[in-house]
């Protein structure tokens, strides 16, 4: 059995917890842990290329007050889901800044950029050109909706495959 620590990174209210809730079978810890300890841990077992992998998901509080805490919680992670709200352009920039901080402290590690809330297409703020540029720079990008479940499973699968590939 292989276990992988995965962090959910992103600005506040982008839907990190909703994505975890959608992905895992049941939430183990309530959100109160996020606001008190700064993180809530859940897990899900999946199969990647016929291999059992347990993803231990660290859902990290998106508030800047916990910035310092967050850096320490990155430690030991095998990959991360970088979450941005597609209806708020600013959250993408915040997510990328966060990703830069991860790279600075830990080097390059597998990640998937998730543009969440794709069910709100009419409010979408992130231009296709911006996405293309990010993809060109090496980002694996997925449009997800925690509300409808669209591409949620896929995002975690992509990340798991990337983690196992190294």
């Amino acid at each position: 059995m292989v276990q992988k620590k995965v962090c959910m990174l992103g600005a506040s209210a982008v839907g990190k917890t909703s994505l975890v809730r959608r992905f895992v079978d049941r939430m183990f810890f309530s959100e109160i842990y996020k606001t008190t300890v700064g993180v809530s841990v859940d897990k899900k077992q999946i199969q990647v290329n016929g291999k059992d992998v347990t993803l231990v998901l660290w859902d990290i509080h998106g508030d800047d007050v916990y910035e310092k805490v967050r850096v320490s919680t990155f430690r030991g992670m095998s990959g991360y889901l970088l979450v941005a709200d597609g209806t708020r352009r600013q959250t993408l920039e915040e997510a990328l800044a966060l990703s830069n901080r991860v790279t600075e402290s830990m080097g390059k590690i597998p990640a998937v950029l998730v543009l969440n809330k794709c069910d709100l297409a009419e409010q979408w703020e992130i231009e296709a050109s911006r996405e293309t540029a990010l993809a060109t720079s090496g980002w694996s990008i997925l449009h997800t909706s925690a509300k409808t479940g669209e591409a949620v499973e896929q995002a975690f699968m992509n990340l798991a495959q990337a983690m196992l590939a190294i």
Partner: protein, 594 residues
């Protein structure tokens, strides 16, 4: 060297040289590369020879395995060897089972004995604990406490009897916070260890960040009511022990030792950890040693029997008291039932006992005794009995008599009697009541017949008394003569008074009286003479009545001769009485009442 030779070869083949040069060159080549070529040939031969290759490997295979294990990657080796070893064992058993049996014989017996004794010990300990706590006073108290606090009995027992018990031990990879191994004490409910370990790591980091602690500083313990989490860290691993109760300080030393051991043994696997927890399965034994439990010393074993005896005596006393009280209640209830059966107007249909209360079903005449009073007389708590009474009319003699008495209100001087449905009135009563009695009594439930023969009309009492006296009067006459016997004057005078009085009383009652004056004779002499003689005697008395002023047509004289003798004539005294005059009074009331 071979490469050098190969690189050099094209150079030597490029131009065409004369044969002597070729020979010289060949000699030179031999001088320069011959040793290497021989060495190469030697290596080639060695590699091509299976025997020699096996010989070579046999000299290093033990060291190689040892080295691999020291690197902490013995799992791959085990996985590689497992099929071969399994197949070898299978083949060995197939060929000759005795070989393996002989090999295992020295260890199988002790292993089985150890396993059985461990299982028995564990079972006995559990049984003793359960028995002790279930039957003791303390056990009862703890059950009450468990009921009061909503905790399970097992939890309460643990809380009171346990010094400490290590319920879970986590081996966590320090960097990632992932669980490498996790052991749990028997019968301990646990949450998902991966997530618990993750949160523990998060809390560790949270505390470290919050208080600007260094990387090597760590949270030593967490406390939550009777639970404690002790944490020990090494460079790459963390051991977290979940302890119920308070473990001694030297338990932390045990944790440290185990952790150091693991860190040392798995240093390579820990450093290169990529999420595969397989290599750490072997650490389970070390962690299992940390699953300790210590129970409180049993308190003064001498006191326990006394306490047990006291409790047993108390229980027996309560039980005995309860049985005695129940028996007493049953006896009292039987008495009450018996009394109820004796009561006229009450018919017991049956009774049941539900919820500690007697339920009585009975029929009760409204005039019968009140069962509630009988219950009180039997000293039975009214709350312990439910009386389900259905009203009915009883035909019991006493109840019918009571009912008749209540309905008819007999006047003083009249007494009612009842037997087998016949109601009898005796005494003197006003005519109106007598009439009412005759009319109403037959309608009373249980009365089938009415007897008034012993009832007298109060108005006729004096008349009847006078009538009786007159009719009892016998005026005597001598033999063969129609004059009163000497000495009969007084009786005649009294008779006259009574006859006058009866006429007066009849007049008062608005009735009429007729008086027959009857003359009698004895049987001596001829009958033809006796009849006129008896008539003469009646006429003599009638004459006296006339002379006394009684000249009513209602007075009649007649002679009965010997036809109506007063006494048998077997003696002179009898014959004397038959020589007499008697009276017969008849009263006719204005309205017939009696």
């Amino acid at each position: 060297m071979a490469e050098q030779a190969q690189r050099r070869a094209p150079v030597s083949q490029a131009p065409e040289n004369p044969p002597e040069d070729q020979q010289a060159l060949e000699e030179l080549r031999h001088l320069i590369v011959a040793p290497e070529q021989e060495g190469l040939q030697e290596l080639r031969d060695r590699l091509d020879s299976v025997e020699r290759r096996a010989e070579d490997v046999s000299t290093v295979v033990a060291e190689a395995i040892q080295m691999r294990r020291e690197q902490g990657d013995d799992r791959a080796l085990a996985e590689a060897l497992a099929p071969t070893i399994q197949e070898t064992l299978r083949e060995s058993v197939r060929r000759d089972p005795h070989v393996l049996a002989d090999a295992l014989f020295p260890v199988m017996g002790p292993a089985i004995r150890k396993s059985i004794s461990e299982a028995l010990r564990s079972m006995l300990e559990s049984f003793n604990e359960a028995l002790e706590h279930s039957l003791s006073w303390r056990g009862i108290q703890w059950r009450i406490e468990a009921y009061r606090t909503g905790k399970s009995f097992a939890e309460i027992v643990l809380m009171h009897s346990l010094l400490y018990r290590v319920e879970q031990v986590f081996l966590i990879h320090r960097e990632t916070g992932l669980v490498l191994n996790h052991v749990v004490a028997p019968a301990v409910a646990t949450q998902d260890p991966d997530m618990v370990a993750g949160m523990l790591s998060a809390i560790q980091q949270f505390v470290r960040d919050s208080f600007n602690s260094g990387r090597n500083e760590a949270l030593g313990s967490l406390n939550f009511e009777e639970l404690e989490v002790w944490i020990e860290e090494s460079p790459d691993a963390v051991i977290a022990a979940v302890i119920r109760g308070h473990a001694p300080a030297d338990y932390r030393l045990a944790m440290k030792e185990a952790l150091e051991n693991i860190q040392q043994h798995y240093s390579s696997a820990l450093a290169n950890f990529q999420g595969d927890t397989g290599p750490f399965r072997g650490a389970g034994d070390r962690l299992n040693h940390l699953l300790e439990a210590r129970y409180k010393e049993k308190q003064e074993s001498r006191r326990k029997p006394r306490a047990v005896i006291a409790v047993a005596v108390a229980v027996l006393a309560i039980l005995g008291g309860w049985i005695a009280y129940s028996t007493y209640l049953l006896i009292e209830w039987s008495r009450f039932l018996h009394a109820l059966h004796e009561q006229p107007g009450i018919v017991v249909l049956g009774y049941t006992k539900e919820g500690g209360r007697f339920h009585l079903q009975a029929l009760r005449d409204p005039l019968a005794a009140d069962p509630a009073k009988l219950l009180a007389e039997a000293k039975i708590d009214r709350e312990r009995a439910v009386l389900e009474l259905t009203p009915f009319y009883s035909v019991d003699d006493s109840i019918v008599l009571r009912r008749a008495t209540e309905r008819l209100h007999p006047p003083a001087g009249v007494k009612l009697f009842e037997k087998d449905g016949e109601l009898r009135a005796e005494g003197i009563a006003p005519p109106a009541w007598i009439a009412e009695f005759r009319e109403r009594a037959p309608w009373i439930a249980g009365v089938n017949a009415v007897d008034t023969s012993h009832l007298q009309n109060a108005d006729l009492v004096e008349l009847n008394r006078l009538k009786g006296e007159i009719e009892a009067t016998v005026l005597l006459f001598p033999l063969g003569r129609a004059e009163l016997e000497t000495g009969q004057e007084g009786a005649l005078a009294q008779a006259l008074i009574n006859i006058q009085a009866v006429f007066v009383e009849a007049q008062r009652l608005n009735g009429t009286v007729s008086l027959d004056v009857i003359g009698h004779s004895d049987s001596t002499g001829a009958e033809a003479a006796n009849l006129p003689l008896s008539r003469q005697r009646a006429d003599v008395i009638l004459g006296n009545l006339h002379r006394a002023g009684l000249k009513s047509a209602a007075l009649q004289a007649r002679g009965a001769g010997t036809a109506e003798p007063l006494r048998p004539e077997d003696s002179e005294e009898g014959r004397r009485y038959n020589r007499s005059v008697t009276f017969k009074v008849a009263f006719s009331p204005a309205s017939p009442v009696n």
